[in-house]
């Protein structure tokens, strides 16, 4: 067990400060492979749930890691690196939506297409469709908060918003999703 694993989960600001103080060494291929195997699946799922398109998720996953490697990452803290990758993925997803809008394609319409694939069960389709009805920012907020367990500070950093706004934005996103679930009779 590494020393990092024994350290309890610190608040984001403290974790960032710890990461800055920790001795840094450049990431080599072996370290990258370990980090990639730990994070790539989660990042792919996040992008896929945000965009609803597996091909787009593949593409954006690669772009995310290219961008990550371009910054010549240094190993200080895995949490910090993971957070950085999520932030990069979020930016790329929002860029993708902007690009789609520019080409007059409704990004949300892409979701049911992917969800209608025969291997998708009806429940999965309903869930994907419901999630797609949220705004992209709401999707990112809910996923980062409820699935990735990110703090408000981390979410604010990833979405480029003020930390104090996250609580309100998260409340609105929950209410929006709650309304959709009630209307569709999908509430657990």
């Amino acid at each position: 067990m590494t020393a990092e694993a024994t350290v309890p989960r610190l608040p984001f600001a403290l974790r960032t400060a710890t990461a800055r103080r920790a001795p840094k060494r450049p990431m080599d291929e072996a370290k990258f492979e370990i980090f990639y195997r730990k994070t790539a699946g989660r990042i792919w799922t996040y992008i896929y749930r945000m965009t609803g398109n597996a091909a787009t998720a593949d593409d954006l996953l690669q772009k995310t890691f290219f961008r990550f490697l371009r910054t010549r990452p240094e190993i200080a803290n895995d949490d910090h690196l993971r957070h950085y990758v999520f932030k990069t993925a979020t930016n790329l997803v929002f860029d993708h939506f902007r690009e789609e809008r520019r080409h007059r394609i409704d990004a949300l319409d892409a979701v049911p297409e992917a969800a209608f694939r025969p291997q998708h069960s009806e429940l999965r389709h309903d869930m994907m469709r419901t999630f797609a009805e949220l705004k992209p920012q709401e999707r990112a907020l809910l996923w980062l908060a409820h699935v990735e367990g990110c703090s408000h500070d981390e979410i604010a950093d990833a979405l480029g918003v003020q930390s104090k706004s996250v609580r309100v934005m998260l409340f609105r996103a929950r209410r929006h999703l709650g309304d959709l679930l009630t209307r569709k009779g999908l509430a657990p």
Binding site: A40, T45, Y48, R70
Partner: protein, 134 residues
């Protein structure tokens, strides 16, 4: 905080999100990390090469501008002399004989030298551009 103390909406959304997250729709194979690593390194090399070439590219652009400005200046200031000299090569002047020779003689040595230098630099620059692109 237990679920009882939490906002019911938060609990409902959290449960749904957990259920949603459990759906496994990941591809069987994610891109290979070694391939990503190599491609990222190649991209970094390409970016570094481009950065190293930037001063050369800037010098090239500067040379194009200087040569263009030189030609523009010579043509503007000595246009009448050059036009007269060029007219001396028209068939009418050649047939009439001596008039062409007078016009050609009117070009000063310094102007001829400037024209030779500018033409040489232009040809060298063109060769360099073609060879660099190849």
């Amino acid at each position: 905080m237990s679920d009882l103390e939490r906002d019911p909406l938060e609990v409902k959304v959290d449960e749904w999100m957990q259920q949603f997250a459990r759906i496994d729709d990941r591809p069987r194979t994610l891109p290979d990390p070694s391939t990503l690593w190599v491609r990222a390194k190649l991209m970094q090399s390409a970016v570094a090469a481009e950065r190293a070439n930037r001063p050369i590219t800037n010098a090239q652009i500067g040379a194009y501008l200087i040569v263009a400005a030189g030609w523009a200046a010579v043509l503007m200031w000595k246009w009448q002399a050059l036009a007269a000299w060029l007219r001396s090569f028209t068939p009418a002047h050649i047939v009439l004989g001596a008039a062409g020779a007078e016009a050609a003689a009117s070009l000063s040595i310094s102007l001829v030298l400037v024209l030779i230098v500018l033409a040489s630099v232009t040809v060298m620059l063109a060769f360099y551009t073609v060879l660099a692109e190849e």
